[in-house]
């Protein structure tokens, strides 16, 4: 095992390099955010007088308070309904339908690789026909539909792994399908539901295309969508832009740090299954 020693060092070195490369853009933004507003700072240099007030200014300029509320509302509109609908459908497709109805599942799966851009144009006209353009529903409702392929796929994969014996035991215990679903299946599906919730939260919070196309008012958009508008407005003021971007990142990053383990698990499995 002497050969393992230098290799471990090589691995650490590589990782340290990766970590540095990953963190540098954030660091560079951070130092730039502390430079005097309107100035042209250098890539990575600690300013003589750190302008912490830039963050406060960016908070004002980006209308952060409003944005937080808006993003939260959109997430609350999308995630619970999507998770519930997908959990039900996943259970239905895994446990209640046989070979003859496999096509329904295949129709869902067909949407897995669909780029959102492929349907954004008709979505615009559809949402407009519903009279929802420039409302949060213009983001919420289409996202629920767009998330269904992955979510249903995800939940079905989970339910396929639940032994049929449990379903049958529940039936013999006198459970209707509905009760079995809520009292047996959903509690057992908690890890899968948790991961799906995390993924959908991230994807919604970071969704950019739909807000940009369907909602003009940044204060009705998601964080990411608002960031686009913020860049358009303050793009030339590098310190302010960097401060604003960092602020907009903060909520998800904080959540991520708090639930690090769950996030990592969800993202890893999420891509494997997707």
């Amino acid at each position: 095992m002497t050969a393992a020693q230098p290799k471990a060092w090589l691995a650490r070195l590589l990782l340290a390099l990766l970590i540095t490369v990953t963190l540098l853009p954030f660091l560079s933004m951070f130092t730039a955010a502390l430079a005097p507003s309107g100035s042209y700072p250098n890539g990575l240099s600690w300013p003589d007088e750190p302008q912490w007030s830039n963050f406060a200014k960016a908070f004002e300029a980006a209308n952060m308070g409003q944005l937080l509320i808006s993003s939260t509302l959109i997430v609350l509109g999308v995630v619970p309904i999507s998770v519930l609908a997908a959990t039900m459908a996943g259970y239905g497709l895994a446990k209640l339908t046989g070979g003859r109805n496999k096509w329904i599942y295949l129709v869902f799966v067909a949407g897995l690789t669909l780029p959102f851009e492929a349907v954004i144009t008709p979505l615009y006209y559809e949402v407009r026909a519903f009279g929802l353009l420039n409302t949060r529903f213009a983001i919420i409702l289409p996202l629920i539909g767009l998330y269904m392929p992955f979510s249903v796929y995800w939940m079905r994969a989970h339910f396929l792994n639940v032994p049929n014996d449990l379903t049958e035991a529940a039936q013999l215990d006198g459970a209707t399908r509905w009760k079995e679903f809520w009292l047996v299946q959903v509690p057992l599906a908690r890890p899968a539901i948790m991961s799906l919730t995390i993924l959908l939260f991230l994807w919604t919070w970071n969704q950019f295309l739909l807000p940009v196309v369907l909602v003009r008012d940044p204060s009705l958009r998601t964080m990411a969508g608002a960031l686009g508008a913020f860049q358009g407005q303050w793009g030339t003021d590098v310190p302010l832009l960097c401060a604003g971007s960092l602020l907009i990142l903060t909520p998800t990053v904080l959540l991520f740090l708090a639930f690090q383990r769950h996030f990592v698990a969800a993202l890893l499995q999420g891509s494997v299954k997707g």
Binding site: L44, M88, T121, G174, A224, L249, F256
Partner: protein, 310 residues
């Protein structure tokens, strides 16, 4: 003893509601469970998809009268040099989005080959996943600043004596697209690395020992144990990264807006531009359908590769 009489009554009532009996009822239940998801999917994915197909046969500005043009829009997408080079850009991005993360990820994974335990492991995981957690838009802004004239990239080049190389990367006709590619690589690098590192821990360590006893060199170990063992994970990495390259939108929108010229324009952004700025809804829809098909064509062989022997 419980002879089930009370529930027997409900059953009788149910059987009157569903005259077809047990089977019919089971079917109805299944439909009720799937219906909400399917409705959402049908209204906001399937219907728009059908509309996309329909629009793609029209010449329509989105407001006035539409004119049926058959496949003319598709002919335009597949012959117009600008549109072709835009599609080409997407494939060039694949080189950066996919190749860099997968190769680097493989290197790191085979160097570590084992669990990343302890604080160092947690720290590494956390940091490497940061780019996955933040909006792509933020990655775009961060790197616009990195690539700016006074940004860190130029600063670093100057520091090592390559001041001649400095430029405004994202405004440079030759280097804008690679620069955009680097942003994508940065976003996807952590994910791919972690997927591969996790995947390699699932390979039975005795395989490596057996290989070594058989006289395998490190390269052989990599070629005959690691690569086959990571087949599925590599497939996943390629799938995820290829889709995000071909369907890229956020990063390009923020970092370059497609410029300079159309050197960094990608289909996703062009669809948006055509449909909402140039009011060529038909052409935008045709491009959208082509994009969708291209993604499928690009993904299918990868899926085959990953499925085989698994």
């Amino acid at each position: 003893m419980n002879d089930g009489t009370p529930s027997g009554d409900t059953r009788l009532r149910m059987s009157r509601l569903f005259p077809g009996g047990k089977n019919q009822k089971a079917r109805a239940t299944a439909i009720l469970f799937v219906l909400p998801a399917f409705t959402a999917y049908a209204v906001f994915v399937l219907a728009p998809l059908v509309m996309s197909l329909y629009y793609s046969t029209l010449r329509w500005d989105g407001i006035g009268k539409a004119r049926f043009t058959g496949l003319a829009n598709y002919a335009t997408v597949l012959t117009d040099p600008d549109l072709l080079s835009i599609i080409g850009n997407a494939f060039e991005l694949v080189l950066y989005f996919t190749v860099i993360p997968v190769l680097l990820g493989l290197a790191v994974a085979s160097a570590i080959r084992g669990h990343m335990a302890g604080t160092f492991g947690t720290l590494t995981r956390t940091v490497l996943f940061l780019p996955q957690v933040i909006p792509l838009v933020a990655a775009g802004i961060a790197w616009s600043w990195m690539f700016a004239s006074s940004g860190l990239v130029n600063q670093a080049l100057t520091a090592v004596g390559l001041a001649d190389w400095t430029r405004g990367w994202l405004g440079d006709f030759d280097f804008a697209l690679p620069a955009v590619g680097i942003i994508g690589a940065w976003v996807l690098l952590g994910l791919c690395t972690m997927l591969l590192v996790t995947g390699i821990t699932k390979i039975d360590p005795s395989l490596y020992e057996a290989a070594r006893l058989d006289g395998a060199r490190p390269w052989h170990e990599f070629r005959y144990v690691t690569l086959p063992g990571l087949r599925q994970e590599i497939g996943v990495c390629i799938t995820v990264t290829v889709i995000s390259a071909l369907a890229s939108f956020d990063i390009v929108y923020i970092a370059t807006g497609g410029g300079p010229g159309i050197t960094t324009m990608v289909p996703g952004l062009e669809i948006y531009r055509l449909a909402f700025a140039h009011r060529q809804v038909g052409l935008a829809s045709a491009l959208a359908i082509v994009l969708m098909v291209l993604v499928l064509i690009a993904i299918t062989p990868v899926q085959w590769y990953a499925r085989e022997k698994k």
